[in-house]
């Protein structure tokens, strides 16, 4: 197990930023574990969602932001629903994921690659279609063969959509402006 020196690892600015950006009073978490009990992604987490909450309370920035759990969270909000202290736990997880990404803690690159491949499809076509996202994702991650077992069944049922040019152009501009701004603000694009 790794050792943490609380007096040195504690980062008060991290606590403040997490609370401000998520709009949640994380200090009220009393570690009941309800969030973890209902979490459908718990089995792939390295730190359970209640542990993440505790980590934020203690200001353990490095421990929290490097957790793969932030990337595997399904945003299903079961934790939020079940929290007796009305903390929007799912919202905190999302805020932490944004912070992790901005600061370069990409501990589950395949998740980020998948999302970016999806956004590339949207940027290029204005709409998305599974086949396009999948192809881009495979290229990014070189995980050739991902889900190929589904291809015959899927192709039988699918066709490519017609997408009006205005949709394509406008979404492309939105995503480009976003990328530019993120770069200017020193965040990961």
């Amino acid at each position: 197990m790794n050792e943490i020196h609380l007096n040195r690892a504690r980062d008060p600015a991290f606590i403040k930023e997490t609370e401000e950006r998520s709009g949640q009073d994380i200090g009220t978490c009393y570690q009941c574990g309800n969030c973890t009990a209902g979490c459908p992604a718990a089995f792939v987490y390295d730190r359970q969602v209640n542990q993440i909450m505790r980590g934020v309370q203690l200001g353990l920035k490095d421990q929290v932001l490097s957790s793969v759990s932030l990337w595997y969270c399904l945003s299903c909000s079961m934790c939020t629903l079940r929290c007796p202290n009305n903390i929007d736990v799912a919202g905190v997880m999302e805020t932490l994921r944004h912070m992790a990404r901005e600061q370069g803690y990409i501990t589950a690159p395949k998740m980020e690659k998948f999302w970016m491949s999806f956004l590339d499809t949207v940027r290029a076509f204005g709409r998305t279609y599974e086949v396009g996202t999948m192809a881009l994702y495979m290229m990014r991650s070189l995980r050739l063969g991902t889900d190929l077992d589904l291809a015959p069944a899927a192709l039988k049922l699918r066709k490519l959509p017609f997408i009006p040019h205005a949709a394509t152009a406008a979404t492309g501009r939105i995503i480009e402006r976003y990328m530019k701004r993120a770069e200017k603000e020193g965040k990961r694009k």
Partner: protein, 295 residues
């Protein structure tokens, strides 16, 4: 009230059948759905996973076009699109957030944007159970349905406003009005694994597997869904789920609109039934037998 329709990308790909059956059922109920002109992707999970301002901007473009088109309400069949549209509206009440979103758009979004709702809620609002019952020609008698909403339709509660966040009942009300037997399904709002099937298959396989297993064990003939992603995870990925659970499944997964359509005597080919991956033949056979046998 003027409604604008936001189909969502899946309606052009994996959920053609959802689009078809939604259109057919709404037409039969006298609800006109007109697409938002040149609508574009809401950004789905990836956009908000990366940045909520980006997600809101992709949604705001569509809401703004709908506003300029005179819509009072945007209607979408897809819970994921709905969740993004509603989250954008919710967050844009904050001036600073709205400004950040506007910076990403070609021009600032209209001051007043239309609200967003689901096709299911629209049907429920315009037609109560009695009214739907009157339109049923071939009741879904004896068909046991496990209603499955997925996690996005009702949560987060403050954004979605879809009744009880863990125990919504609208789908049951509608399908019971169509004559079906409804199973009290405890996993109805537990997540199916969502969009993580491609990067991390175990998340969808195990979570969808649990849903399929419980529905099977509770004697369901069919799982009724409202979400294209849930449908894909439970239907197209059923074999992966079976492997994760180490058992076999033969569980049809149909959109609630397809089931409604059957009851309203809409031809199966207009409901996209042939597009399902796991064949609903047993359901259709029961349906035919209970409605005077044969076809």
């Amino acid at each position: 009230m003027k409604y604008s329709y936001f189909p969502g990308c899946s309606q052009e790909g994996s959920a053609l059948d959802y689009g078809k059956s939604t259109g057919a059922v709404c037409a039969a109920l006298g609800i006109t759905l007109r697409d938002i002109p040149t609508w574009s992707c809401c950004g789905s999970t990836p956009a908000h996973a990366v940045d909520e301002e980006l997600s809101a901007a992709l949604c705001a473009r569509n809401l703004d076009i709908a506003a300029k088109d005179g819509a009072d309400m945007v209607v979408t069949p897809c819970p994921s699109c709905l969740s993004n549209l509603r989250a954008a509206l919710y967050r844009m009440r904050d001036d600073h957030f709205r400004e950040r979103v506007n910076e990403l758009l070609d021009e600032p979004a209209s001051e007043k944007l239309p609200d967003a709702t689901s096709v299911m809620q629209l049907i429920g609002r315009l037609h109560d159970a009695e009214d739907i019952g009157k339109r049923v020609v071939k009741p879904l008698k004896g068909i046991k349905i496990a209603p499955y909403y997925g996690c996005l339709m009702s949560r987060p509660a403050k954004i979605m406003e879809f009744g009880d966040p863990e125990n919504p009942v609208l789908m049951e009300t509608i399908l019971a009005a169509c004559g079906a037997e409804i199973i009290d399904f405890p996993l109805k709002t537990v997540c199916c694994g969502a969009a993580s099937g491609i990067p991390e298959r175990s998340l969808t396989a195990l979570n969808s597997g649990r849903i399929l297993a419980l529905a099977t064990d509770m004697g369901a003939d069919v799982i009724a869904v409202a979400c294209p992603l849930c449908q894909m995870n439970l239907d197209l990925r059923q074999k992966q789920a079976a492997k994760a659970m180490n058992r076999l499944f033969d569980m049809p997964v149909m959109y609630f609109t397809q089931l409604m359509g059957l009851a309203m005597n809409i031809a199966p080919e207009n409901l996209g039934i042939e597009q399902l991956c796991v064949s609903p033949r047993a359901v259709l056979a029961k349906f035919a037998a209970n409605n005077g046998g044969g076809k």
